[in-house]
């Protein structure tokens, strides 16, 4: 079923007992949606394309800006001004023509997110703002889709994985978005370029493990990384938050919410 070229391309996967021909087939049949083609989405998209994840959707409304290139390694200098999703697609297809890349040049909001995620097996939150992070969480809980949450700022990053029925969601931990401008985004505060590489690569790892069905995911755990201290730390979370308004026993959120964006996040 694999061509000789595929056997060679994926040979370092196939030789792994946890992957093998079976696991590689699962990757090729896998569908992952990446929301945000920036600091986090760039390494996720590149590693998943290289790994042969068969269908990768990528959502972003923006164009490549010169100030993105310090960390968004999927885009190059000649891509400045181009739609991020187009630039990302070109890089991913150059890495691996086996992969079908589907681009969505749009902002996600309550009107389109359920439609965007419905055909995918796993969702990557590579966004930079809290309204969208909560929207992705709520939509994934409602649609019973697993997803990887991550955030990066300055010299720190964190991630957790939600799988329906297997531990808490993002809202279990963080309840509600902070008031706009109360907590800085990385545009306001800065972020060290390689942080997206560290945390985005971990998100890609979670997606791959989910697709091949091997190993332990970051469900019920929040992994934090402090680059200045050079420390990783895993925080064990409560396994079940009964009164979570979206995944708890009596959900009070029954419709998706478009929270107000901090003004500096709007272009």
């Amino acid at each position: 079923m694999f061509s000789n070229e595929q056997l060679e391309r994926y040979s370092r996967h196939i030789i792994l007992k946890e992957v093998g021909v079976k696991g590689q087939k699962k990757l090729l049949e896998g569908k992952v949606l990446i929301i945000g083609a920036g600091g986090l989405g760039a390494p996720v998209a590149m590693y998943l394309a290289a790994a042969g994840v068969g269908t990768i959707g990528i959502v972003d409304a923006d164009e490549v800006d010169l100030s993105n290139l310090q960390r968004q390694v999927i885009h190059t200098t000649s891509d400045v001004g181009k739609a991020k999703v187009q630039s990302a697609k070109e890089t991913m297809e150059a890495i691996n023509p086996d992969v079908k890349v589907i681009t969505y040049r749009e902002f996600v909001d309550s009107t389109n997110i359920l439609d965007l995620i419905k055909d995918y097996d796993f969702i990557i939150d590579g966004t930079d703002n809290f309204p969208t992070k909560f929207l992705i969480n709520d939509a994934c809980v409602m649609a019973k889709k697993p997803f990887s949450h991550a955030g990066i700022i300055r010299f720190r990053g964190q991630l957790m994985t939600y799988v329906p029925g297997q531990g808490p969601c993002y809202r279990c931990v963080f309840k509600n978005p902070p008031p706009k401008d109360a907590v800085p985004t990385c545009k306001q505060a800065g972020v060290i370029g390689a942080m997206g590489g560290v945390i985005g690569s971990l998100q890609a790892m979670e997606a791959v493990k989910y697709l091949i069905g091997k190993g332990d995911l970051l469900t019920g755990k929040l992994l934090t990384y402090d680059a200045l201290k050079m420390e990783f730390h895993t925080v064990k979370l409560p396994q079940h938050v009964k009164d979570c308004p979206i995944c708890g026993e009596n959900p009070t959120i029954t419709e998706l919410i478009d929270y107000e964006q901090a003004e500096c996040d709007m272009k």
Partner: protein
Amino acid sequence: MKITVGGEVKEYKDGLTVTELIEAEQVQEAEYVTVALNEDFVPRDEFETKQLKEGDTVEFLYFMGGGRA
């Protein structure tokens, strides 16, 4: 008493409350921090009264945006 804060064992006076620990640890954006005590979340309205005891494990969880812009 000894408690574990963010994975580090620390010495604090008996009866320390969550609010006092937040101050002592100089937690940033403390208004928005999530506090986990022995793998359970502490409701914000209990920060001032919740006293910590020997052997407790406390974690501070922060909002982290960033990624795309």
